[in-house]
Symmetry: C2
């Protein structure tokens, strides 16, 4: 990993064209050839970058200033960094990283709701997780107290396309005589956060919305484990 602080201009040509005027920035050159150009702000996204696999060629521009040309391996994307003044230049051996361990993403949410379906609607019991249909898997297929089938779509953030997805599933499921014997399949849209537009669309289509609290669910899970002893 090489870290350079330099006054520079940058031009990118590839899927789009982009230009960075002369200013002081941090250039990160990773060992896989990838390059990141960071300013002192924004967020984790660099102002410009080149994704691996790619190679950096250090050359000299017409006016004699150093110019680094980064080219992608497969595509014809090109990143040109014209160096005006180098303020800092160091290299460090980092080694390979063991990587990030995550907990609390959508998969975990689905696991917890599969164990506690009644938190979505009273009397709900799980029939199957990842219930396969011709157009994809329904997150949870349940049955309510009256024996009616209920399809549950789970999102971390409930957006309009999640409602569309559940609608497609319901359209298909309601053509299945085995599922609709006692009545139409109901839909529940479950998420930690539901956008207003998504809620409106869901309600309009007769789909119930359920807000999910991950911490509460995890707490219930602990309780269940305790009761086993």
């Amino acid at each position: 990993m090489r870290i350079v602080v330099a006054r520079c201009q940058v031009d990118y040509a590839g899927r789009l064209s982009a230009h960075l005027p002369l200013a002081t920035r941090v250039l990160m050159l990773k060992s896989d050839g990838s390059v990141l150009i960071h300013s002192d702000g924004g967020s984790y996204k660099p102002l410009n970058w080149m994704s691996p696999p790619c190679t950096v060629r250090e050359g000299v521009a017409e006016d004699g200033r150093p110019e680094w040309v980064v080219t992608a391996g497969k595509t014809d994307d090109t990143l040109r960094i014209l160096i005006d003044e180098v303020l800092h230049d160091t290299s460090h051996e980092l080694g390979i990283d063991p990587g990030l361990q995550k907990d609390g993403v959508e998969k975990h949410l689905q696991e917890l709701l599969a164990e506690h379906p009644a938190t979505l609607s009273d009397g709900l019991t799980l029939v199957r997780r990842e219930f396969m249909t011709a157009i994809g898997p329904v997150d949870l297929m349940c049955r309510d107290a009256e024996g009616l089938s209920v399809a549950v779509e789970i999102k971390r953030r409930g957006d309009i396309d999640g409602v569309e997805q559940l609608t497609r599933y319901l359209d298909l499921l309601n053509r299945d005589p085995a599922l609709t014997r006692k009545g139409a399949v109901r839909g529940i849209f479950a998420a930690q956060e539901i956008k207003p537009q998504a809620r409106v669309l869901a309600t309009d289509r007769g789909i119930a919305c359920a807000l999910v609290d991950y911490d509460v669910l995890r707490g219930m899970d602990d309780g269940a484990e305790h009761r086993l002893f």
Copy 2:
């Protein structure tokens, strides 16, 4: 901007929980308080980070090692960086960045197609760009050689949700007597790349697909400008 290379452990608690085992990494501390933790690989995304606004508090862990605690302003997100050994530590004044100038995004695609609607379908002429409806603006509203209304949805990458979007527009537009006097409103799904599933869904719903070549369109635009002289 402060750049630190250190052997460290990291723990994040917030929207999810995440952990990074002990390893050597690059820590970027931006002047707005945000922190990026980079390894020597991956892509432009850091292994872990904290978005601004946030504040870094440099403290000491129970065992005496330095521990940096980054807390978000509004939420209760917390990032803990336990420092095992500092290998490098420098600060640099970067100043505010003039920012990135882009060219070639969806807006430009829409501008070019508005000038050359016939490339989508023979005899097509533009009625209006950003034609407003109750559920949002239709990218291009056109008329074909027979005088029928044609709604065009433009995407850089044509995905299934783009087809859903156009379908919603068409449902609404086809209830407008002024538009449907000569017949139903047709739909054209235009994109630089159309995913197979999106194409199938569009075709199934009677929506035409049109592949758009940005470079060719830009070329036509140049030609048009030349012909003015």
